[in-house]
Symmetry: D2
Subunit: 296 residues, 4 copies
């Protein structure tokens, strides 16, 4: 199958079930909102070595937030509910509570499972914190220097899908960067997904395991152009560069839509092929066959 000059490989992306939460962060204005979100969504490219995978799902207008201020919906993915419990509290405590004017609300109110957030952070109030119930939901008001940090007692957790991906193989780095950026921007425009890597793109593709004990992942040599000839390569002839878009989403369909958008945005003259990363199908529960996605 081809899109223009670009071969779409007959392969599949292998993705995994993960837990996620959605936080609604609001602030006085866009400046402080961005300050909080930059801090909150940093250092979180991959759960292989970070505590969580995070990203901005979408911006929210004042009409869409509980307190009528500008807001952002952030998705945070973790290996398990227990892992999310720890990461979300730490990150909000360090990155949002510290930031002028912010508040944090649950963005998954109908989820069956919930994890503590304000319930954990309230201890910072050193006994001066107070709770209040509004519309059946409990909030904590933690005294800080600009008044109170308002944070919901708990936030919902649901089952999501992480690790949907496409790999763009291009003739050189310049065309690779262009294609990657087009694809990342296409994902950003989709609802219900994030692309957790820097700028939405991964360049250090990895395989499970390593020849060093205790290192859970190492470079995917099959996709490294400098190793062609020394290893069994998965790069097409003429390819000098590859980039991967990794997509996490709230369900199987959200990831599928984002992958389609990314493929369509990436395909172009100097993009020799688009493939996808998998582990032979034995690990991840979700298999996205590229040809089926594009036909669908």
């Amino acid at each position: 199958m081809k899109i223009g000059a670009t071969l779409i490989e007959d392969t599949f992306a292998e993705a995994f079930g993960m837990r996620y939460t959605r936080l609604i962060v609001t602030a006085y204005d866009e400046y402080w909102l961005d300050a909080a979100v930059r801090e909150l969504t940093g250092y979180s490219a991959s759960v292989i070595s970070c505590d969580a995978e995070t990203g901005v799902e979408r911006s929210l207008s004042s009409d869409e937030t509980p307190d009528g201020r500008p807001g952002v919906a952030v998705l945070i993915f973790g290996f398990s509910t227990a892992a999310l419990t720890k990461s979300v509290s730490n990150r909000v405590g360090q990155c949002v509570m510290t930031c002028p004017s912010t508040a944090v609300y649950d963005g998954l109110e109908n989820a069956e499972e919930r994890i503590p957030l304000g319930k954990s952070l309230r201890f910072f109030g050193d006994g001066y914190q107070k709770s209040k119930i509004v519309g059946g939901r409990r909030y904590w008001r933690i005294p800080v220097m600009d008044g109170e940090f308002l944070v919901e007692e708990s936030v919902g957790v649901s089952k999501g899908v992480a690790g949907g991906n496409i790999i763009m193989q291009t003739v050189d780095q310049r065309s690779g960067l262009d294609a990657a950026r087009r694809a990342a921007e296409a994902v950003r425009a989709q609802p219900n997904v994030i692309a957790p890597f820097p700028g939405g793109v991964a360049r250090s593709g990895s395989k499970v395991g390593s020849r060093y004990k205790g290192l859970p992942a190492s470079t995917a040599e099959a996709y490294c152009p400098t190793l062609r000839g020394r290893v069994e390569s998965k790069l097409h002839e003429g390819v000098q560069c590859a980039y991967e878009i990794v997509v996490d989403g709230v369900d199987e369909a959200a990831v599928a839509s984002a992958m389609v958008a990314a493929i369509k945005a990436a395909a172009a003259n100097e993009v020799i092929a688009i493939s996808a990363g998998n582990y032979g199908g034995k690990l991840g529960k979700f298999h996205y066959h590229l040809h089926e996605l594009l036909k669908g």
Copy 2:
């Protein structure tokens, strides 16, 4: 002492010795440079609960970088050399190595102490990594999907100063946010310093200890406007909001200069007073008396 309508309190900021490193991060263009830096400098407001305090020191033109590409100097502060060793490797491995087109160089080449960087990250290469020596400095070339990630074997570590600060007390939140932003931008324009909190500003000022065992810090109730009347307050009459600028720098003078710049930028009509945070002088080695700073 007053600057215009703003009282400058006769008090001092208490700062601490910490270790820091400077990384030079470069990328193909500003887009990918920003992607890497956002990821690298997130989740790092305070070593009280983050692994490090990070921030952008300044942008570097192509002339100023080792590889002639656009770059940024990032400062990373940690409690000790050992703590920095871990944080810097993890953060660069997850946030920069993953990002298209980036490279990382030592920005403290004359430091007497050094910590491993490429020396740790090379394991990701799974045996395919190579080292090379250029101009007496050793680099690692780790194969990735767009070629090789070039990273210096080790980076310098020096003694810096962390926790310089001013506290702005204002008539309301709007004037507080304005003053904080002016002060943060003034610090950003100074060399050799960073302001590690979100947007450069801290609103959840903290004291050492808590009534909950195992919690190293809790809210500084003396600066919380909603607690006035219930606790011994340090807020001036009429103050409804306070924000803190925290400054980390490469030496005592750099922090002093940044504090002066912040005070001058912050002082204004609705800023009732500018004070500073200290622990009675018993903890931190560096004491910045506001009046002396402004006379100097």
Copy 3:
């Protein structure tokens, strides 16, 4: 007040509310039970820098365990329910699931709050795990090399008290070690408590905060015999050594009883005084006045 030659100071121990869980660990025989418990209860002296405070509460005969095998009740204290969630799963996964023949049951079945245990660990089964419900409680059976690791889906969490303490001041190290050991053994014989430090005793007493930023605790110089003369000391004349017994318990009364037992066991000729550690009463919720304890 005196017990024999030993002055009991008119002071109080300041203790804190913490969350705890009780695990029932069983194994084929005492040899493997001890192997698991040694691993599980190591590296856990204080939540100031460890993830949890752990210890053996008591041994259980075959009659007292759910599966009729030898067992041990272990108490694990953490700063919050969220912190316990992470620590308990990690520790059981690494220290008990790995150990031949073991199983883990909830030891707090009537607690209102519960944290996941088997629910987190089951993922190790890589899809081959199974759950079963017996007597209204859900268990996970995770396939391992000697059959299945049986672990309860969740375990109860309750509010406990941590940081009860006494400080023994003695004429020399020899008498200090003797007194500390007597006191630690007395605590070990009490129900519902643990003494989490090595051998039940702490010698590096700490205060909150430090002159180094980011270090949450540092040496309590007032109790260091080598610093007498340089600092304001709390050591009595003639004292060359001090040791602290720290007690965590399931409620206020359990800690009180253990402190009384420890004081009575410690008092002796070369024990000049027994005092207790506090923070002026402003931090911890529980105050144990030594004189009242001994009168009660």
Copy 4:
């Protein structure tokens, strides 16, 4: 090849290069030495999810220690020098410095590489610590309640070998536990090695990767007796139980000797076979072929 009734499989154990350090811990007497060592060597079965792999190498008589007191040599293995730097400081600070009467010395003085120990821990002294040089080695004296905690400024790090292993396949759990214990005790009697799992034995054998993203290891289903029939099994007919001895050592020969000792101790009537765990030879650098070991 057979030893008595036990088949020795024609296979190999695959082990990895890791870094290790050796600490000499001393104390006033055996009681407090054991208290420190129990705390220090807990929660450290495998670097897959613990910060380090630790164990007692051997006991030292008063003649063999720097201060003429009873001692123990502890080996600590980590993924890299940087990882060891963090783990060793934390563990010694929490588990040994806290324990009455202890001191810690470098047990690898000729190593080319060194990591900070006292250099990191001294900060606990809050400025009251002192250093002294004896025989060309620098020590820190940190004031604590029983005098001073003496700890060497830095300790050596060398390249070791981790993950040598044998897998015993037995007719039932009883015979498995007996064989495992015999083998673990044989390893304990060998110099220069540790067996880091509880009691020296692992029962939750693992493979690299998992069908859950972000989980670096999961159960080795091929060795699970309850999964026979559902998966491709590596268990011999009649086997109902398997246990693994994992050995870490200071060099290739030390691990080889310990494996031979373990095999010879384990082989017995109800031990149907002894095999070993590997990853097809692609990951670990060291391959121990069982038949060659036994011929050698």
